[in-house]
Amino acid sequence: MDRKKISKSDLGQWLDKIAEEYELIGPAEEDEVVQFRPVKSSSELTLDYANSLLPPKSLFFPPVEELFSYQKRGEEIKLEQTKPLEKDRVVVGIRKCDVESLLLLDKVFCEDLVDAAYKERRDRTALIGLACPTPPRAACFCTSFDIDPLSPEGTDILLRDVGEAYLVDVATEKGQELVGLAGKLFSKLTKKEAEELQPPPVDMPKMDLSELGEKLEGMWEDPLWDKLSLPCLGCGICTYVCPTCHCFDIADVGSTSDGVRYRCWDSCMYKDFALMTSGVNPRATKAERARNRYFHKFSTFPSRYGTGYACVGCGRCLVHCPGGVEITEVMQEILAKEGAGE
C-alpha cells in the first residue's frame, strides 16, 4: 500500500478534478439531513460530518429503482431494461462501517444468482473512505465487530485527518489512478512524518461478542422478544437506516399497457411483510418480527453466507428508533443470558 498526504486546502481541487471525469458522490447536507448524493463540485460536500442518515448502501441498492419498463401495443409486449449507470462513479467520504456493510451486501447480491445492476454499480464505483473523527459518535460501536475504523480495507483510498492535511492510503490500482488525476497535489511522506503523523485513535466502548450468536441460538423461545415488542412501533426506520438490511419489494406501477416494474426497499418489521395471500402470516406479531430481525443479523445471515455478524455497529438504528429500542441493549441482554445456547 502506498501512503501519501494531501493538504486540506488542496482536497477540493482534487475532488473537482475527479468530478470532471466521474460522477462524484459524497455526503451533502440539505434541510439539516446529511445524505450521500451526486455533486457537481466539491464545495457542495459536507465532509465534516458524523455519518449520513441513510447508509450509502443506497448508492448500490437504491431505495427505489426501475427493473424494467413494459409497453403493450396490441398483442405485442416490449420490455425495456434501464441502464443502472451512465458514468463511472467515485464516492468520497464513506465511513468504514458502511464499507464493511457493502462487503456483506456483496455476499447477498453478487454471489449465487448475481444481481447484475447491483454488481455493475459496485464494479463501476470507486470508494474514497474517510476515517472517523475523534471522538466518534456516542452511538458508534463498530469496534465490537472487530472493525477498525482507520483501516483502508474495502476502499480504494482512505483519507485520514491529521490536522492540516489528510493522510492518503492508496489501496488499489483504481486508487492510484484517481490520485494520478492530480498527482501534483499529493506529496510523499518524509521519514519523520511517516513516524509522527498519526491520526488520533478512535476510542469507543468495545463489547465482547464472541458468544452472541451461540447464546442467541438458544433463545428462539425467550421472553426477550415480547419485551422488545412493547416499545417497537412497527415502523421501518431501523431497517431503512441499516447499512446491512437488504429486504425489498417488487411492484408494478402503471396500467396493464404501460408502466414500470420497480424494486424498492421493504422492511421485515412491517406487519404485512411475510403475509401470504392465504391470509397466513408466519410473523404476525411484533415479537416474531423482532426475533426474526435479530436472528438474521446475528445468527442466520452469518451461517448462510459464512460471514461475521451482519451488523457493523454504525448506530443509526439506535439513534433513530422512535420507540427507543437500542440494538446495543438487545445485544447486552442476549449476552447476559445465563446458560442459553448450551
Binding site: 427493473l67 424494467f68 413494459y70 403493450k72 398483442e75 409486449i77 420490455l79 431494461q81 447477498v108 447480491f109 449465487d112 444468482l113 448475481v114 444481481d115 447484475a116 445492476a117 441460538e217 428462539w220 437488504h246 429486504c247 425489498f248 419489494d249 417488487i250 411492484a251 408494478d252 402503471g254 396500467s255 396493464t256 399497457s257 408502466g259 416494474r261 424494486r263 421493504d266 421485515c268 411483510f273 411475510a274 403475509l275 401470504m276 395471500t277 392465504s278 397466513v280 408466519p282 426474526n292 436472528f295 438474521h296 445468527s299 442466520t300 445471515f301 451461517s303 448462510r304
Partner: protein, 278 residues
C-alpha cells in the same frame, strides 16, 4: 435466465383448462424459439408468472421436464396476480421468470418405492414429479398416490386421476372431505385416509404437498407408520417475492424458501428454527 435476474421472458398462453371452479391449468410456450427449446427445469421447481401492471406470483411448474416446448401451471384464483392470470385467454401474453427453487430429489430416489400424498391444489407440484417418474417408469419402484380435496368438484386433473386409477403400475387412492351425489368413493380427510391405507415404509420415500394443516397431520401419520424423517419430503410455504433468495420475505432460519426450497425433507426442517411452526 437472462443476466437480469428480475426480467421475465415473454410467453403466450396456448391453452386454458378449467380444473375446478376456481382453479385452471394454463399451458404456455415461450415466444423466443431458442428459449422454448433450451428451457430446462427439474420436477418441483417453480416460476414467477408476471401480469404486467399487476405483478408477479410464484407458481409451481406442473408439467414434467420430460415434455418439451411448453409449460403447465395450475393456478387457483386467490390474490391479485392469480386473479389476473385467470383473466388470461388463449393468445394472451404472460411473463415467466424461472425456473426457480430447488426440486424434488428425483435423482436420489431412483430405484425406490414412492408414495405421493397430495391435498387440493397441492397435487400439481407433485404431478410434475409423478409424470416424470411415469415417463421414466423403469428407473423407479412402485408408485402409490393418495389424493384428497374438499369436494369432488375440487379435485384437479380429473382425467389424469382416472388414468392413474386405471394404470396397473400405479396404486391410486382418492378421497374427498365432503361427498356429493356424483361421488361413490371414500369420504374423509387425507391423514386418516392415509392411516387406513397404511402404506409400508420399507424402501419408500413419501412426498407430500397440500395445505399446511394437512401436511402437519400427514407427517404425524407417516411418523407413526415408521417413516424416517429423511424419507418424508414436503414443501414449505412462505410469502415469496424475488424468487432468487434476496428479498427476505421467505426467510426462515438461514434458508430462503424460494432459493433453498421449497422442497425440504422433514429431517432438514427439524433443524430450521421456526420451520415447524409455519
Amino acid at each position: 435466465m437472462s443476466n437480469n435476474i428480475y426480467l421475465p421472458s415473454l410467453a403466450t398462453v396456448k391453452e386454458v383448462r378449467p380444473e375446478t371452479p376456481d382453479t385452471s391449468t394454463f399451458v404456455v410456450t415461450f415466444d423466443d424459439p431458442t428459449l422454448r427449446e433450451s428451457f430446462t427445469y427439474r420436477p418441483g421447481q417453480f416460476a414467477e408468472l408476471s401480469i404486467f401492471g399487476v405483478g408477479e406470483c410464484p407458481i409451481g411448474i406442473a408439467s414434467s421436464p420430460t415434455w418439451k416446448g411448453f409449460l403447465e401451471f395450475c393456478v387457483r384464483a386467490v390474490g391479485t396476480v392469480s386473479n389476473a392470470i385467470h383473466d388470461l385467454e388463449v393468445g394472451d401474453k404472460v411473463g415467466v421468470r424461472g425456473p426457480l427453487g430447488n426440486s424434488w430429489p428425483y435423482e436420489e430416489i431412483r430405484g425406490k418405492d414412492l408414495l405421493f400424498i397430495g391435498g387440493g391444489i397441492g397435487l400439481p407440484p407433485l404431478r410434475s414429479l409423478i409424470r416424470y417418474v411415469l415417463d421414466k417408469r423403469d428407473d423407479y419402484g412402485a408408485v402409490e398416490i393418495v389424493y384428497g380435496a374438499r369436494s369432488p368438484a375440487d379435485l384437479v386433473y380429473k382425467n389424469e386421476l382416472k388414468e392413474w386409477d386405471e394404470r396397473p403400475d400405479v396404486d391410486f387412492h382418492v378421497t374427498v372431505d365432503v361427498g356429493d351425489e356424483t361421488w361413490d368413493g371414500p369420504v374423509g380427510f387425507v391423514p386418516p385416509f392415509l392411516k387406513q391405507i397404511n402404506p409400508s415404509p420399507k424402501n419408500k420415500v413419501a412426498f407430500t404437498c397440500g395445505p399446511p394443516i394437512m401436511i402437519k397431520l400427514v407427517v404425524q401419520a407417516l411418523e407413526e407408520m415408521g417413516y424416517a424423517d429423511a424419507d418424508i419430503v414436503t414443501t414449505l410455504e412462505m410469502k415469496m417475492k424475488c424468487g432468487v433468495g434476496k428479498c427476505g420475505r421467505c426467510n426462515i432460519g438461514d434458508k430462503y424458501i424460494c432459493r433453498d426450497g421449497p422442497v425440504f425433507s422433514f429431517e432438514q426442517l427439524r433443524k430450521i428454527p421456526g420451520a415447524l411452526e409455519v
